[in-house]
Symmetry: C2
Subunit: 368 residues, 2 copies
């Protein structure tokens, strides 16, 4: 029923694509003009496995924008309302990036290597173009480019065990959103404790495409008895965990406050970034709508391909942008944006899905 994906050079393959194919990938999406697997055995099978064992994910589509040079810090701080002043050289920060109207352009992770060298690990939009245009327009002294760096994620409760076997017991001490170097095959990679699941794990920033398959193979060899499998960001698990998807749950039409990211928009840094005036005004007045968890009644909904209207009687109250059946919670879990008058936790509303109107309830996120 789903059309196939026509793959070309433009929908870029990754250093891991051959292994992903061998592992029996059944579905893809295109993310940053690159292949991102969406399903292997099945959404529910992948979900149960992720929560119990360990998976290796091809997330090469999390492309890096490298910013290098004397003005690098100044430029990165210009991009985001989050205060980067105290960030260490072993830290990663989740940063909303906004335009001059306060609209979100991306929600990347900034990886600080040093004051004058950063990676911006991007969600699905060409942030490279925004950063390059801005730097050129302002005449900043920086070099900006996409390096040959492809993240590979290790996710699931047995992630520490698998990583320790390959890289030594010390890796267990790596703290959340901190990074360090690991050695592999005569080279070294940055690794962070991070990833797009709430099951715990790591992201290895594989520097050099030629190392992709050897690293993949080493992980599978070391993890055979841990029941390691090829996986991918799982729709059900990420909604349960309240992990937002840029382009799905928020777009350039939304401010960080609407996306529930207000805590990253406070203080002096926020007053100097692009869009500061608009953000300051929204801080004072509060957003008109905001991201919420939503539980949808009934059996499994179809996939959410377009926003589904949320209604309060005959009045539009918001929209659902991501939805999936949660086996563990025994309900449909969803993410959406709800107008201020209706966003209170526990509110009962309805949602217009492609197969009919259903009851729904505003919930706290994460669900789990």
């Amino acid at each position: 029923m789903n059309p196939v994906l026509s793959i070309s050079r433009r929908t870029r393959s990754t250093p891991f694509t051959r292994r992903v194919t061998e592992a029996g990938v059944k579905g893809y999406t295109v993310y940053n003009r690159m292949l991102l697997p969406t399903v292997f055995e099945g959404f529910e099978e992948d979900y149960h496995h992720l929560k119990k064992h360990v998976q290796v994910w091809d997330v090469a589509c999390e492309r890096q924008v490298e910013i290098k040079g004397p003005d690098a810090f100044k430029l990165v701080q210009m991009l985001t309302p989050r205060n980067l002043a105290k960030m260490g050289e072993d830290q990663c920060y989740y940063i909303p990036v906004v335009d001059e109207k306060g609209g979100m352009l991306n929600d990347p992770v900034a990886v600080k290597h040093s004051y004058d060298r950063w990676w911006i690990s991007i969600a699905d939009s060409d942030l490279l173009y925004w950063i390059k245009g801005l730097a050129l327009g302002r005449g900043l002294n920086v070099d900006i480019f996409e390096p040959d760096v492809s993240p590979l994620a290790i996710q699931g409760p047995k992630s520490d065990d698998l990583m320790a076997r390959l890289f030594g017991e010390d890796i267990r001490d790596l703290r959340f959103f901190r990074h360090r170097k690991i050695d592999f095959n005569g080279t070294s990679f940055t690794v962070a404790r991070s990833g797009y699941s709430v099951q715990g794990g790591f992201e290895i920033y594989v520097d050099g495409s030629e190392h992709g398959e050897p690293l993949w193979d080493a992980l599978f060899e070391a993890g055979e008895d841990l029941n390691v499998r090829a996986g991918c960001p799982n729709l059900i698990e990420r909604i349960e965990g309240g992990l937002l998807s840029y382009g799905n749950d928020m777009t350039i039409e939304n401010t960080p406050y609407e996306a529930g990211l207000g805590k990253f928009c406070k203080g002096d840094a926020a007053k100097g970034c692009i869009g500061a005036d608009v953000l300051q005004k929204e801080l004072e007045n509060g957003p008109k709508r905001q991201i919420r968890g939503i539980a949808i009644s009934g059996s499994a909904t179809p996939p959410c391909r377009n926003p589904w209207p949320i209604m309060s009687g005959d009045e539009k109250a918001g929209q659902v942008t991501s939805a999936a059946w949660s086996p563990d919670l025994n309900t449909n879990v969803a993410i959406g944006m709800i107008d201020k008058a209706h966003w209170k936790i526990g509110n009962k509303l309805t949602v217009q899905t492609p197969d009919g109107t259903r009851d729904c309830e505003v919930r706290k996120m994460p669900f789990i």
Copy 2:
């Protein structure tokens, strides 16, 4: 064999997606984070039909970047080496857009509405971000946004007949890359004689998503006896016609000269645009490699998902980036970039395809 495409809000549906689905679309690609059909009956069936009849194409993925305001002309001229000084308010120009290193960021069509209002009809990259970043950095007085405009292409030899039935005989007089207004259902759309095939036709810039299905339906009703069908850019026909695909045949790694677009990089305009120094140097020295047509021997090749090395003996001579079997030419036609030492028309080389090494020959483009 091909994995299915997982569709979400992030891989945006278009105002025509429902009709495209009803018409039996079999394959999609994602282009500008939007669904672009790639095949209906089959690549060859679609190809023969396109060359004989008339097709309606959902090319909503050709998103518009609207630039509006007193500095609009200045900004657009800054983006491209092509001279826009004499461009009329009824003209479209194909413009290479380059960065400060002369690397191509996109190859859009600029649609001039007036001196202070332009649409940039983009190929596959977020040119919105580049233009916004640049304008903000330079402090230009312009508003830049993506309007709710979705191109619908009418392509094939019977395009004039179909368009004349709906919009009157005058439409036949519209010249290549000129645009005008047409009335439909109480509103009006910009229409241009243009499109991503060499069979002739039009692109209607549907302004307002709500008009998508009514226009689609009107075209199919009016064209029933013309054998009108749903179609899409056809891989075989576009290679035969020498139409380049940004992201496939050239990327940010290539200059316009390498892409064979040197004729758009001359004169005074080229001296003022971003990347001017690099382009001037390349004009003087000539590019080191350049786009060529390539005929590949043997039966139909597999699809080109990654560049295929072109060899001269043991020496790398270039790469193929698009390839397809041409029923009309009875050979595989391809597009690639070939190093200066080997790019002469008629040169015999070899190409490493996924199913083995084949003989190939450098050819003029377009093939037909």
